[in-house]
């Protein structure tokens, strides 16, 4: 086992930290928990409502991280996204197992206060990412935002959403499709507005803090998505 001081682990990028975890470095695990526990527990609590269930889900999330750290695929997801996807899947399973009501519709509105109000709490995340997502969600119509959040944070199927919202299933699907497509466009615009420098930094964060280059010509590497098939089955 390599020896990695807590101070050094603190300075590692997410992906490098995950690699250190895969090598069995306990300090890296502690740093990782400190870095992500608020976000993971916050997502679990948002989806499960119940604190006890949420803590179980958050703890299981980190257990999955420890187990699968060596298999993380940095080409397909940022570490943060990967961890949150694991948490989401576990939360959906937990809620369904307990037959409780996942993300009741009335719970959606509090998720979207003015983005700036949330800034001080967003310590583990890159604030610009969080603000961009919340602003983009805020720019959807109320109907689109509700169905998108019910699907994403609630884990509801289109049929369930249709029943809950009292709308035809075709309408639910249409709102989901339009909402997600518009969200993608909004986030794409936001990304472009970040400017070259920030976009480059974002790309770098999404990588393993590395870049591949050919002589004289740099080209980006390894930096996109990676779902855990356990949490998402898309290719």
């Amino acid at each position: 086992m390599m020896v990695l001081s807590s101070a050094r682990a603190d300075r590692l990028s997410d992906a490098a930290l995950l690699a250190a975890i895969a090598l069995g470095e306990p300090d890296a695990c502690a740093v990782f928990v400190r870095r992500y526990q608020r976000q993971v527990y916050g997502l679990a609590l948002t989806m499960c409502s119940d604190p006890t269930t949420s803590e179980d889900v958050a703890q299981q999330t980190f257990e999955r991280v420890w187990r699968h750290a060596a298999n993380f695929d940095g080409r397909r997801a940022s570490v943060r996204t990967w961890v949150l996807m694991i948490c989401r899947r576990l939360a959906i399973d937990a809620v369904r197992l307990r037959r409780s009501v996942p993300l009741p519709p009335e719970a959606i509105d509090p998720l979207l206060p003015p983005a700036a109000d949330r800034m001080p709490e967003d310590r583990a995340t890159d604030a610009s990412d969080v603000v961009a997502v919340r602003l983009a969600l805020g720019n959807l119509s109320d109907e689109q935002r509700r169905v998108v959040l019910l699907a994403s944070l609630g884990g509801h199927t289109a049929v369930e959403i249709a029943e809950r919202e009292g709308i035809p299933i075709g309408t639910a699907k249409s709102r989901l499709r339009l909402g997600l497509t518009r969200l993608r466009a909004e986030l794409g615009t936001e990304q472009a507005a970040m400017g070259t420098e920030q976009a480059a930094m974002a790309t770098e964060r999404a990588t393993v803090d590395t870049e591949q280059a050919t002589t004289g010509t740099e080209r980006a590497t390894t930096g996109t998505e990676s779902p855990d098939p356990d949490t998402r089955g898309r290719p």
Binding site: Q37, G42, T157, L187, A200, P229
Partner: protein, 224 residues
């Protein structure tokens, strides 16, 4: 375009949000796996769907959560063992971690998934190759270097206090004294790490030399 392509088009948002029930979900994803058009459609939307999770607020977990979650890590390690580096020599932690990340990434290509702990790929399993500490002419530690050996070898270099705006050239030196330039690197900040694919023949290199734009040596690392 097949009938399944039409279904994927219709249900792309639901697939991206992972709310399609089985067995349809598996059927559509299996189709997308082999259909570049559908795969691209899903990837585009899935990236957006994943980012929605950031909208959830951060919440301080209950007291003691951190220690409990960390204790689980010790249990997992005790039960499952720790994947050891392929070459157990003393290495710098940072570069080992980064290089190991690349090993995992490259391994992911060969193994093709994340759901379960991987088994070593039958061939081309990535491993850590030669590595060493970068030292200045005065002998001070100024960074690290490591080679990840996979289907395409990659050189990983980390230079402490790298100067933003400076361009660094990396040269590999062979036992017979010959050298090859492997690339030029423009750090975006101090402690920036850089990686570059290298030719398999370069695996025989015994030393890395990092030079500034004037060609003056900044640091060297013996790759062992």
């Amino acid at each position: 375009m097949t009938d399944l392509c039409s279904v994927v088009d219709d249900r792309a948002a639901e697939l991206a949000l992972d709310i399609v029930d089985e067995p349809e979900r598996t059927e559509l994803l299996a189709h997308a796996e082999s259909c570049e058009r559908c795969r691209r459609t899903l990837d585009d939307l899935a990236d957006t769907a994943d980012r929605i999770l950031l909208a959830a607020p951060e919440v301080e977990p209950p007291v003691g959560f951190e220690s409990r979650a960390t204790a689980v890590a010790r249990d997992v390690t005790a039960r499952t063992g720790v994947p050891a580096p392929a070459k157990p020599v003393r290495r710098s932690a940072v570069v080992v971690a980064i290089a190991a990340a690349l090993v995992a990434i490259i391994g992911g290509v060969a193994i093709g998934g994340i759901g379960e702990p991987s088994t070593p790929a039958a061939t081309n399993a990535p491993a850590l190759g030669g590595s060493g500490e970068l030292a200045s002419a005065a002998g001070d530690h100024v960074g690290e270097a490591a080679i990840v050996v996979g289907s395409e070898p990659i050189l990983v270099v980390s230079l402490d206090d790298a100067k933003v705006g400076e361009r660094y050239e990396c040269h590999l030196v062979f036992r017979d004294g010959t050298t090859i330039e492997v690339g030029t690197w423009a750090p975006r900040g101090p402690n920036h790490t850089w990686s570059i694919p290298i030719d398999r023949a370069a695996l025989d290199a015994v030393q890395l030399v990092v030079a500034d734009a004037d060609g003056s040596s900044v640091a060297t690392a013996d790759l062992t």
